[in-house]
């Protein structure tokens, strides 16, 4: 298999396969988790404006009072790399074209130089949070194989994509193939690793908000 064949496979069957696993995996995992249900709360509710699951989904995106200064690296690093990732994934013109090919949907992208800059910043933020994970006793203590693995799963597509655009190290076709394959690996692993928090984060915030909202506490 030469580079072009590899790329063709990645773009064709590889993509179909990984998207299939992603979609089925996400559905399966969502049922596995939320199908467990919960008991109805029989205590008399206290109604307070702003105390609900939906409110908490939004509110938890900003650090509660006094928390930012306790973990500035986690917060800043977290913001930068999540937002950066979203920009790179969804606002890079070739990515939009790909989605258009699959779903027929398109939206305006950002100039590639800008995306390039965001990619570098995002990778830098990821390296900083990685060091923070190694450095901070609590984070190191909590970390398991899953944390290092998912970090790498996220980082490699960024790095390979950036290197492909800049024609670094290996021929463009090969690097692009590596890039696409690494994304496909990410998609396949997403439902079954810590990456799945991308979905459950909404459920978790909602439950916390709803359970405490029942008591009239806007958390």
């Amino acid at each position: 298999m030469d580079h072009l064949q590899l790329l063709t496979w990645a773009r064709g069957p590889g993509l179909d396969l990984s998207l299939g696993v992603l979609v089925l995996g996400v559905i399966w995992r969502l049922i596995e988790i939320y199908g467990l249900g919960r008991k109805q709360d029989l205590s008399a509710p206290r109604d307070v404006a702003g105390a609900s699951g939906w409110n908490t989904i939004i509110r938890r995106s900003v650090p509660p009072p006094g928390m930012f200064k306790t973990s500035p690296v986690s917060y800043m690093g977290g913001y930068i790399f999540h937002i950066g990732l979203a920009i790179v994934v969804f606002l890079f013109a070739p990515h939009i074209k790909l989605v258009q090919g699959v779903l027929g949907l398109a939206w305006p992208g950002l100039p590639s130089q800008m995306v390039d800059f965001v990619t570098v910043v995002t990778m830098a933020a990821m390296i900083v949070v990685l060091f923070d994970r190694i450095n901070k006793p609590v984070k190191r203590y909590l970390s398991t194989f899953g944390d290092w693995f998912t970090w790498a799963l996220t980082f490699i597509p960024l790095l390979s994509g950036w290197m492909a655009v800049h024609h670094l190290l290996v021929p463009y076709t090969l690097m692009l193939a590596i890039h696409i394959l690494s994304v496909e690996l990410l998609l396949i692993c997403l439902p079954f690793t810590k990456l799945f928090h991308a979905f459950t984060v909404f459920g978790s915030r909602w439950y916390n908000g709803a359970i405490n909202g029942h008591k009239g506490v806007p958390v």
Partner: protein
């Protein structure tokens, strides 16, 4: 019903619901919850990271409720939960967690960790790994009627004292009274002023109220240890008492966990909505204030601050009323840093204060309260929970801080003028 690993694991499995599954899947090991927990911040020991306190439950969840986890278990790739492990976790689940809910208020992915610890305790106690201090408190509450072993005669003696001191009768088992007043043993033994304060407040408000001879103890050690069967027995007494006396409202005393047990867990424990209202005394006072039924005279002039009991404020949603009430009687009031919703726990909630072997850690954790107090330098500390009060008194004594603590209800009552026609 003897405790065993098998039973513990079975109960733990039953406790796992969609919120818990969602929380475990969402955790990104960011460690931010640790920064919110006084047992971590004051010791620097990462084992006190809130989410880590749930580790055996998380593994069990994975092994029992996820496809990949079941697969891993089948081929022997994941470690089963052992008795020794649960034994090791006892300190983390009880001594070093007061269910204060600060972690739940900060986790960026939204995990309600205190909710999980509460459920994990069910499995821990079923497996036999719960602290002796709490076991004793539960047994005494179920068999004798209160965690400190207090019986009705002690309450009656208290009533007599108050009647003599205040020249008012304390109603007992009065059918049709509007309010059923509950007490905590701590108040009966250590803070008898509370009962007198209630009598004064009710007289001024012109409300009918009563104590109940079959249900006077509001605290629920069954909930704290994590044994819903026993918690139900304890709560049921109050429900029966309230229904028998046909009261409209049951008043939870100045005790945070009693409030949670009655107000939020009670109906779920007995399996049906209550036919009466449950209010914390602070909520009742606020209602009286708003209705013009609470009138005070004179002001406290010394420098005061207020400690928010976690279960009343962060876990109970009562934050403003106590401040409105304080305004009526305090001239020189100052808030501590993080006061209100994000206030730091006294270090002894959730049953932790009943754990003897946890005392050293508790005093260590109290450094957080100490630094909050050092920032304000009050002359007196006001609170609305007898348990917080005792825990803080111990802490203050340990750190040789001379700071008297007063209950809010009692402080308000002191400013209620005697009626003109009183003898």
């Amino acid at each position: 019903m003897s405790a065993s690993l098998e039973k513990g694991v079975r109960v733990l499995k039953e406790m796992i619901d969609a919120p818990i599954a969602s929380y475990f899947n969402s955790c990104v090991h960011c460690g931010i919850c640790a920064e919110a927990c006084l047992f971590y911040t004051e010791t620097g020991n990462p084992k006190y990271t809130p989410i880590h306190k749930l580790e055996p439950m998380r593994r069990l969840y994975e092994q029992e409720y996820t496809f990949l986890g079941r697969l891993a278990k089948m081929v022997g790739l994941s470690k089963p939960v052992t008795d020794a492990e649960l034994g090791e976790w006892q300190e983390l689940v009880y001594n070093s967690c007061t269910l204060c809910g600060r972690c739940s208020a900060v986790c960026p992915v939204g995990n309600d960790i205190a909710y999980m610890v509460r459920k994990m305790r069910e499995g821990m106690s079923a497996s036999g790994h719960s602290p002796d201090g709490l076991k004793g408190a539960v047994t005494r509450t179920v068999n004798i009627g209160s965690p400190m072993g207090i019986k009705l005669p002690a309450v009656k003696a208290q009533m007599k004292h108050v009647e003599a001191d205040y020249g008012m009768t304390i109603p007992l088992d009065m059918e049709g009274a509007e309010y059923l007043v509950m007490l905590s043993s701590m108040e009966i033994i250590n803070f008898p002023e509370y009962l007198g304060a209630i009598a004064k407040i009710m007289r001024q408000a012109g409300k009918t109220w009563t104590l109940c001879s079959e249900a006077f103890e509001a605290t629920n050690a069954g909930m704290q240890i994590g044994n819903s069967d026993l918690a139900r027995v304890i709560v049921k007494r109050i429900v029966d008492g309230a229904e028998k006396l046909k009261v409209k409202t049951v008043i939870s005393p100045e005790c945070g966990h009693a409030y949670t047990a009655l107000r939020w867990e009670g109906a779920n424990l007995v399996g049906k909505p209550f036919s009466f209202k449950v209010q914390h005394i602070v909520e009742v006072l606020e209602e009286f204030r708003l209705a013009g039924l609470l009138k005070t005279e004179g002001m406290e002039t010394d420098r005061l601050t207020f400690h928010d009991p976690c279960q009343l404020a962060r876990r109970g949603g009562v934050i403003e009323p106590q401040r409105n009430l304080l305004k009526m009687v305090a001239k020189d009031f100052h808030e501590m840093p993080d006061a209100g919703f994000m206030n730091w726990c006294c270090g002894g909630g959730g049953g932790a204060s009943a754990i003897e072997e946890g005392e050293e850690l508790r005093l260590e954790a109290f450094k957080r309260k100490k630094s909050q107090l050092d920032a304000v330098k009050p002359k007196r500390l006001v609170t609305a929970c007898a348990n917080c009060r005792i825990v803080m008194e111990e802490g203050l004594e340990h750190y040789q801080m001379n700071l008297p603590i007063v209950g809010l209800t009692e402080m308000i009552a002191e400013h209620i003028p005697d009626p003109v026609d009183s003898k």
